[in-house]
Symmetry: C2
Subunit: 321 residues, 2 copies
């Protein structure tokens, strides 16, 4: 059925590790350029090798330094590393300035590293969708590990969780008191906790507290997130952090975790893609289609509530689903 | 066609300004309790009076104090005010602690005020959908103004923009340099800018800079966001800020802005509701339906890319739309 079509030259170039083609393709994906699509399609069968690891945490905990330190550990072992830095979501922050700075530090001539900074706003389909596609390109490019660094801004972090197979949550000792009021949400996100800046006072207490919290309830899959102390300043604990990541990946491979995670992520991706397109189409029809315009008019003059209007539209669609 | 059914007693109670019923109903909406639905439906025709005003800005600019000061101005005029405080999205922040504190300050015995703090995580359909429904309940309760206070965390702010008819963006003077790197996103959000803490040095410069920026391009609707300096410490500029909000509301009423905004918001709400339900259904079918399971399996073994799989599903649905 699926007779092999010739691969687009860009797809061959990415597999041949042409950095310029990769960079251009990432930009196309970021901009929603439809010409990227056949290339992404051709590359898809050549993905699945790379492990995607999320590095998440609030501003100021030293995530970038930590990623740089991890990069050192990984490169020393000959591991090829892609890094995606997701800039703060907030329109209030000038995150891209920072991103540009980091890019320069990290790109420095090493063929086994590719860094890309992305602003978290303005992506059709959301930053998570774009990040997933860029991670796939880095995977096809031959990276073994893709580190996705996000700033702790809630929604984005939770979404990135749906891309990464291991998520590291980075905290610092002096969050101490704040840790007590942390929401359960943190524990949904983390496969590995790390207390960075462990050279500062309070690190042991914070680590103990987190360990007690994680011990209270192992996740539904039976994994208890380890808590690793490290310090990029003293160059300590970075190897241990990576070992914890590897332990989680090994845990996934030893049971149903890997397959379950991959299925959940594929399902979520398909749902997002399909509902995204349906949303665009429906929005257009609410303008063009007479019946739908009438429903909208009733909502606007308050003779019909939005819930009932939506139910009717859904009911008309439902038996096709 | 729509023979009048008897209103549920809770709907009558909300209109009779029963605070306890209102509070309970808000909790039901927050928890996604389906028993709220017929009550919301009965109340919908009694909404549309209140103006929804968003108050948005980064952490630490004094939004809560500003909202309290606005409350003073509005209550002195006899305006009835609902306040929805949306806690930080981030699982890293202990925002609800703060929220509880504010709630106590503000609820103090004034029948013309109703304050509600909401955590921004864990709402089916998203925080924006819940906020919209809670604002509607406050509207039906007889509030003239509903202030929605959000912490500047990007996505949430942009979504709240789809609920409010006027959005105030709060900044402070010492963002000075940072302002230069502000993304265009800020200007999409703001109908009114305010420089709070105008008692601090640099306020004039920041205001001038913002004014120059806003003057560069009036919005597509012809409105240029005013920049108002205020100081909650000195009790200065609060009246001016509210006048600027009123000016924007009057501008909406004087042209097509009001109707356009209401239509855009109703469309967005219907699209979100319908696609949300389709998403849930599709996710279930990806587990149950043989054909869809097969497609999913092909994506997982990388013989079919997720884009093509989604296209096929969409194509099967499309001619029903």
């Amino acid at each position: 059925m699926t007779g092999r079509r010739p691969e687009p030259p860009e797809a061959r170039a990415v597999q041949a590790r042409d950095r310029r083609v990769l960079a251009r393709l990432i930009s196309m994906v970021e901009n929603g350029d439809p010409r990227a699509r056949p290339i992404q399609k051709a590359l898809y069968p050549h993905t699945g090798h790379a492990r995607i690891v999320g590095i998440t945490g609030p501003l100021g905990v030293g995530k970038s330094s930590l990623v740089n330190a991890l990069l050192g550990v990984l490169r020393a072992r000959g591991v090829r590393v892609g890094i995606i830095g997701v800039d703060p979501t907030s329109p209030f922050s000038g995150g891209s300035v920072l991103g540009d700075r980091i890019r320069i530090d990290r790109a420095g001539g090493d063929e086994g590293v590719f860094f890309r900074s992305m602003a978290s706003r303005g992506h059709t389909g959301g930053i998570a969708a774009t990040t997933r596609e860029v991670a796939r390109l880095l995977d096809a490019f031959g990276m073994d590990i893709v580190l996705v660094e996000t700033v702790g801004s809630g929604q984005v972090d939770v979404e990135i969780r749906r891309i990464a197979s291991t998520s590291v949550v980075v905290l610092v000792p002096h969050l101490g008191d704040g840790v007590q009021s942390l929401k359960a949400g943190l524990f949904e996100i983390a496969d590995v906790f790390t207390i960075n800046k462990a050279d500062l006072p309070g690190a042991d207490g914070a680590a103990r507290y987190l360990s007690e919290m994680t011990a209270l309830g192992a996740g539904p899959d039976g994994w208890t997130p380890p808590v690793v102390q490290c310090s990029t300043v003293e160059g300590r604990g970075i190897e241990d952090l990576w070992k914890a990541v590897e332990a989680h990946e090994a845990f996934l491979d030893s049971g149903p975790g890997r397959a379950r995670g991959e299925e959940a992520r594929a399902r979520a991706e398909i749902v997002d893609r399909v509902t995204g397109r349906i949303g665009l189409r429906l929005d257009g029809l609410l303008e063009e289609n007479r019946e739908l315009r009438e429903l909208l008019g009733q909502v606007l003059d308050r003779s019909l509530d939005p819930g009932t209007a939506s139910d009717r539209i859904y009911a008309a669609l439902r038996h096709r689903l």
